[in-house]
């Protein structure tokens, strides 16, 4: 026997009554009426005896709760108060979840504290206090403190000829306190500086599938900085030109940045080094931005003083979900790295973009050796679940290089 819900029965009654009243039909109403008006009045009188308040179902109630509590807005940074921190802590760290609390203090100060833990037991905690609205929102001052624990970072040695069979894992724990100032004289131009104190510890990796770093590498053989980790005074200056239409899901415009950082070893002086990073992105839209060709070139250069060394865990890297996707995350390390990406993106529907991509890159001990001859390359296809302004989940499958790699990440690649 078919069971009907009370709402379905009510709907049926309404339909049947209306059909009997207003439409020509063979059946007669139970009580003969003299006029159409009387018939309609009678039906409404009967309905008046069966009224009940609206009760939303479970799914609708849940969605209304989400809307009422503004969880989406809190997640993407719109509102003060508690918010979910969802995403990854670093590449390869696995899915992470946590919570944060954001609060404006008066009309000029914004404070934000959050913490998260990942499926691979990576941990992160951040505290940021900023004055973002100075000089008519052109000047931002801020201080930031962060803690990170990466329990099983991958490492394969230094240089373009490092072997994937040398894979080891290591633990990295660092704490940093930094102050920054950023000035935007024009909406698309920003320059700034940052100074921070960085404390780092390297330990045995906890990935039981692979040896720990000390089993295969040493301070002298392939892992400078493994024996001891000094504190660093870090300074950085940067300038950027950003005229992308929307940073979270760029479809037109470009981003050009350059930065110089100085890492001063405050304990031994042996690991002091400088680092230059430059990145260029350009987005070429077609068909009202429903198709986009996106290109990126990225160059990183680290240079130590004669007799010193750049710690292996601070070297430029290549490989992984935002790099050459036919390789594992952090597959290559060296003092110089060049990365080239090109993506053809197309909108399948307003909530999903797809992409075909080609990646190429190389690491070298000296930047003069970068010759674009022996590039590590890969290609693949990607799925980007997005709103018009933000990519919130990305699945890329990379081929070539050292096999097929699947990367699931939060946020855009570039």
């Amino acid at each position: 026997m078919v069971r009907l819900s009370s709402s379905t029965v009510r709907a049926c009654r309404g339909f049947a009554a209306a059909a009997l009243i207003l439409l020509p039909c063979a059946a007669a109403p139970a009580i003969a009426q003299e006029t159409r008006r009387e018939l309609l009045e009678q039906q409404r009188a009967e309905r008046a005896r069966e009224l009940e308040p609206y009760r939303p179902g479970r799914v609708e109630s849940a969605l209304m709760w989400l809307e009422r509590e503004q969880l989406i807005e809190r997640w993407v940074g719109g509102y003060d108060g508690w918010y979910p921190r969802v995403g990854s802590i670093t590449r390869g760290g696995g899915f992470a979840g946590g919570a944060g609390y954001r609060q404006h203090l008066g009309s000029h100060v914004r404070a934000d504290a959050s913490a998260a833990i990942s499926m691979r037991n990576y941990r992160a905690a951040d505290l940021d206090v900023a004055l973002p609205y100075l000089a008519n929102r052109r000047l931002e001052l801020g201080v930031h403190a962060e803690y990170r624990l990466f329990t099983e970072q991958d490492y394969f040695g230094i240089g373009p000829d490092s072997q994937r069979t040398d894979r080891v894992s290591f633990l990295q724990e660092h704490t940093e306190v930094a102050a920054r100032a950023a000035y935007r004289p024009l909406p698309w131009l920003e320059t700034g500086g940052e100074i921070g104190w960085l404390n780092l510890d390297i330990g045995s990796g906890r990935d039981t599938r692979f040896p720990s770093i000390e089993d295969r590498f040493s301070e002298a053989a392939g892992a400078p900085g493994l024996a001891s980790q000094p504190d660093f005074l870090r300074t950085r200056l940067w300038v950027s030109v950003d005229y992308r239409d929307q940073p979270g899901n760029a479809r037109s415009g470009g981003l050009y940045t350059a930065s110089w950082g100085d890492y001063s070893d405050r304990d031994t002086g042996r690991y002091s080094f400088g680092r230059f990073d430059a990145e260029a992105r350009q987005y070429f839209p077609i068909f009202d931005k429903k198709r986009v060709i996106a290109v990126r070139a990225l160059f990183a250069y680290a240079n130590n003083e004669p007799g010193g060394a750049v710690p292996f865990y601070m070297l430029p890297t290549l490989g992984g979900s935002t790099s050459v996707r036919g390789y594992r995350n952090f597959r290559f390390h060296d003092e110089n790295a060049l990365l080239l990406n090109i993506e053809y993106r197309w909108e399948a529907f307003s909530g999903l973009d797809m992409a075909l991509f080609f990646d190429a890159g190389e690491v070298r001990p000296d930047w003069h050796d970068i010759d674009l001859q022996d590039l590590n390359t890969s290609y693949g296809v990607g799925f980007r679940f997005n709103t018009y302004q933000n990519v919130f989940l990305r699945c890329d499958v990379g081929f070539g290089g050292e096999g097929t790699r699947l990367f699931i990440a939060f946020g855009p690649n570039f």
Partner: protein
């Protein structure tokens, strides 16, 4: 499927049950003495209706993936016996049923000239996506204020006031929407004015808030900011209505909304005006007092996403062409690596910022779509579409131009372009939807027995005349709902004919009209018209344009 079967079974049982309750087997007359009714008698007191708030996301998910409403191909349930919509809390007949002057159309729902300052800020705008405020004028009247996006000055405000006037003329209940110009320095802030702060909670509005708001919207060279002032609707706000089902606590709401003619027919007007945001969130019910009792009054509102406007930006090319989610084009695009390009992406639009994106050449009325499926729109039948198109046919070129001019565009190209686009879109709609039934209107039987009618499609240039009309005549027994047709068909070439004397001696006469037209095969489906003898002659009492 189970639900549909259950509904069908229940209806069958109801019908059988009704017959069984009448031991004589007699049936009610098809036409009551007061048919056709002009007003739907909403006589129950609705004081106990409770405000509700519906989930926007749920509305999208439910209508996109679950199709919650009754989808049977059935005649609209709230039409009277001559296939018209009686006046009700949903709809008030204006164009098409009564003469409406151009001045009345241009005036629209507005009961006064544009309100003026000095204005007092009484709150922020919490509904919708466009930036705005709530203001109070010197008379104490409250208005919702919406501005134009910086890249498209005059676009959203122009679209809002134009669509307001057209939808009002077409019979819908809409707010009074005025064009005004605000100067930030002249705004006072009420001490109790609240907006939503960065924590999502209410807080006092400050001058900084106003500066930030005005920095994000379009201003003019004189330092003013053009805006739409939407007068607050009277009554208790009950929240939006759905385009399906009924409100379970409203005793007058007996017709499922997906079977209301005016909501089905809204699809035609929405296509014309590119009102892609025609969904539940942009409706509002208010509890008002009429004739000494409380009833729920139903409104359409927020027309910022009409014509070429997408409220905060120019309308997206997808608008009107594809739902937010559609499986087929999505998978085709996925599998062809994006080399399949949806045809609407190739449409080019003129660069007129005040217009945004709307055009008429690519536009195909029957393919037009709102943001996501609308249950009432999905149920549109040819007779519903004809009902709407007939009203649209009453909007002349001059009327379109006069209403577009109320958009007060600085750029004369905007007025010219929009006028041309709306004329062309109207003509396409008439050519399509006037011809899906035999488009005869004003069918009358004179006292001398002459039948007269008009072919509105031919009159409006949406079709050429047919070579001939064919008419069958019948006597009609109202009590038994039985028609006895005479043998043969009468063939006429003009829009009039003489009724055979054999049928004129009864109380009711039926004329069944059809025509053959090579371009319009639907004209061969008969339209049946019923006439009732009155003291002064014959009254048209029934019209069936499409069998159930």
């Amino acid at each position: 499927m189970t639900r549909r079967l259950a509904l069908a079974a229940l209806l069958a049982l109801l019908a059988i049950g009704q017959v069984l309750q009448d031991p004589t087997g007699a049936v009610s007359p098809r036409f009551f003495p007061d048919d056709p009714i002009a007003i739907d008698p909403e006589t129950q007191d609705a004081s106990n209706v409770e405000p509700w708030d519906l989930s926007d996301q749920y509305d999208f998910v439910e209508n996109t993936f679950f199709k919650p409403s009754d989808r049977r191909d059935t005649r609209a349930l709230n039409v009277n016996t001559i296939d018209e919509v009686p006046d009700s809390s949903w709809y008030t007949n204006r164009l098409g049923l009564h003469p409406v002057s151009l001045d009345e159309i241009v005036r629209g729902p507005m009961e006064r000239a544009a309100p003026g300052g000095p204005w007092t800020v009484i709150g922020g705008k919490t509904e919708g996506i466009s930036p705005g405020l709530r203001l109070r004028d010197p008379e104490g009247t409250r208005y919702f204020i919406k501005f134009d996006p910086p890249d498209n000055p005059e676009m959203a405000s122009g679209a809002e006031v134009i669509a307001t006037r057209f939808l009002h003329a077409l019979g819908y209940h809409v707010p009074e929407n005025y064009l005004i110009v605000l100067r930030p320095g002249e705004l006072a802030i009420d001490p109790d004015a609240r907006t939503v702060g960065p924590d999502g909670r209410p807080r006092a509005i400050t001058r900084d808030d106003l500066e930030r708001l005005f920095s994000s919207v379009a201003g003019n060279e004189e330092g003013g900011y053009r805006a739409v002032a939407s007068k607050g609707l009277s009554g208790e706000d009950l929240g939006p209505f759905r385009y399906y089902g009924t409100r379970p606590d409203d005793p007058n709401d007996i017709f499922p909304h997906e079977h209301r003619r005016e909501l089905r027919g809204l699809r035609v007007f929405a296509a014309w005006l590119n009102h892609d945001d025609s969904r539940s969130i942009n409706t509002r019910d208010f509890l008002v007092r009429r004739s000494g009792r409380a009833i729920v009054w139903h409104h359409l509102l927020d027309f910022g996403s009409t014509l070429g406007s997408g409220s905060t930006q120019a309308q997206k090319p997808r608008a009107g062409n594809e739902y937010m989610w559609e499986a087929r084009p999505t998978f085709v695009t996925m599998l062809t690596l994006g080399f399949y390009v949806r045809p609407w992406l190739k449409v080019e639009y003129p660069d007129i910022p005040a217009v945004g994106r709307i055009e008429a050449d690519f536009f195909q009325p029957e393919r037009w779509k709102p943001e996501y499926p609308n249950p009432a729109f999905d149920n549109v039948r040819p007779d519903d579409a004809f009902w709407a198109a007939r009203r649209l046919a009453e909007i002349s070129d001059d009327t379109i131009r006069a209403v577009v001019e109320t958009g007060a565009y600085t750029d004369p190209r905007a007025t010219e372009y929009l006028t041309g686009v709306l004329i062309k879109r109207r003509d396409k709609i008439l050519a399509r939807w006037l011809n899906l039934v035999l488009p005869v209107v004003d069918v009358a039987l004179r006292p001398d027995g002459r039948l007269t009618f008009r072919n509105i499609s031919v009159e409006k240039g949406a079709a050429t005349p047919p070579a001939e009309y064919r008419i069958r005549w019948a006597r009609y027994d109202n009590a038994a709902d039985s028609a006895t047709f005479l043998d043969g068909e009468q063939v006429v070439t003009a829009t009039e004919a003489a009724a055979p004397s054999d049928v004129l001696d009864g109380s009711f006469v039926v004329a069944e009209l059809r025509a053959e037209h090579p371009g319009h095969p639907a004209w061969s489906t008969p339209t049946r018209v019923y006439f009732r003898r009155q003291a002064a002659g014959w009254e048209t009492v029934g019209i069936e344009r499409q069998a159930n």
